[in-house]
Point group: C2
Chain length 315, copies 2
């Protein structure tokens, strides 16, 4: 299966430059002396998460004649807002399929970008999306299972390599694996000395198990839904798993309490609001299992309910 | 009185480049359509506030033979940590005079950088600092009343002008006035079309009154201490007031409730933790008194007690 290349990621960087924030690496002076830490704060993207990178690359790479017919996506999370926002910038229609139980705040945020939200029953989203694709003649923008999405997320790795070419460790959350596939591909091409380490919640550690087994494994959605890190409940596709096998040096799993502590530490020490999924790389760093050296953690997103953040802050 | 020039600010930028974060402008998509808003997130500096810029410029500009004798500062806030951190980087001694009632968390943070903290009674800090200067032969690094401090803070204005040369409005918190003097000087030199607007809490609005009167006015410290924005309780010196008269197009004052709402909005929408003093520029933007056009708000710092942030988030 052909994998995404560094050239694909460079093309993506050119394509999305005008639309995304070029996030800086923030040195975390409060970290350990022998493992200096930098934060890549993707929570500062316009919709609060890295997902804009893949969305702008995928939509920007469509032929204009195709793009004008619009896009369809299914997501209850950050991908929904990313596609809705990118579609608004390109002034094309967007239909976003969301489960009926999606919190109103996320539905409203997606609608605020001008997207048409189509609510559906659990387990129906792929059928509903297929119907919409047929009705509209639009294009599906998948959350991770596409080379253009992987290449878009990979621009984060390109920027890390530009800003800290001597990086030793890169810690990246893993869910569907688009983010880790892209970043890993860029880092392995540009900083071959660096380790790329995935991070998963213990309660959704299918990729850790799959890499050890040498093939994909399936955890039930009921199991994966137990973690507070609601952005890390997906599993790699065949395409992303092939990348992860190639680029990951390991996976660290973290507990729910460690995730909460990382959200708290990022707010208190780095002045950055992270969602639980966005903070897992700090939780992994704090476990102390990464080797010494210059470490970058990818803070993937910041969309947390204010009440949950408030509770974690004082807890 | 000679004022700081754009050349001084350019020199400062060169001097401090290796030590401070080059913060990006973050577009705030959730803002009003006819007044697009960008955030300059100085809470992402290593000690959580812009003060590192002035501290590195002032200490970096000392003759090495003088600098090695060390530095002295008095502050209970972000300036203390900035001087302590800069002194640690230059590997020189730092004595920081703090009032005895300073919260332990701030004393500890200053000590963590290796500074010697000298606690003193209220009203004694200048005498204690003078004694320390005599004993150590060191140099005083004032919080705002010095051209090198003003030029260091002015590098924020230089970066705004580089990133958004067509800016129409720049909103800057005003306390001792070093930040607004520096930013205003840079913006007036590089973006002469832009308005530079100071922001003060209503409860510490001495500069608004002073600029209207055409001369400095004195508000009692008891009055100024009423505001939650504990970083905005100082008053301009002769030097900074001369700059403010030259570069400010106006001052907007904001209420305590507006400040709390701005802290909440920055955490919820921009995923940035701000202290009350750091959020006042958003409060001013939300009053709707600024003219239309591209607006930059300076988020000056993020050092807020977690319990206060938690309370504001759910409040």
């Amino acid at each position: 299966m052909p994998l995404v290349t560094i050239d694909d990621i460079r093309s993506a960087a050119t394509r999305i430059r005008a639309f995304v924030v070029r996030t800086p690496l923030i040195p975390a002076l409060w970290a350990d002396g022998d493992r200096p830490l930098w934060i890549k704060p993707e929570n500062l993207q316009s919709i609060g998460a890295f997902k804009v990178r893949g969305a702008f690359n995928a939509i920007g790479n469509l032929d204009e004649s195709v793009r004008t017919r619009g896009v369809v996506a299914y997501s209850s999370g950050n991908h929904a807002q990313a596609v809705a926002y990118a579609a608004a910038v390109f002034a094309i229609p967007a239909h976003i399929v969301m489960p009926r139980e999606t919190p109103a705040i996320k539905v409203d945020a997606t609608r605020a970008h001008g997207a048409e939200v189509v609510l559906c029953e659990a387990g129906q989203r792929e059928r509903v999306a297929a119907d919409l694709l047929e009705q509209t003649g639009g294009v599906l923008v998948p959350p991770f299972d596409h080379p253009d999405i992987i290449a878009g997320q990979g621009t984060i790795g390109l920027e890390i390599a530009e800003d800290l070419p001597t990086v030793d460790n890169v810690l990246v959350p893993v869910s569907g694996g688009g983010l880790a596939s892209g970043i890993g591909t860029a880092i392995k091409a540009l900083c071959p000395q660096a380790r790329v380490i995935g991070v998963e919640p213990e309660l959704a550690a299918d990729t850790a198990e799959a890499l050890a087994a040498g093939h994909r494994v399936d955890w039930s959605i009921e199991d994966r839904n137990r973690t507070i890190a609601d952005g890390l409940r997906s599993q790699p596709s065949e395409l992303t798993f092939a990348h992860l096998q190639q680029v990951l040096d390991g996976v660290i799993t973290v507990s729910e309490n460690e995730i909460r502590a990382a959200v708290r530490e990022l707010a208190r020490r780095a002045h950055l609001v992270s969602e639980p999924s966005g903070a897992v790389a700090l939780a992994a760093y704090r476990r102390g299992e990464t080797p010494p050296g210059r470490t970058v953690m990818v803070l993937s997103g910041g969309n947390i309910e204010p009440a949950m953040l408030g509770e974690i802050l004082v807890g």
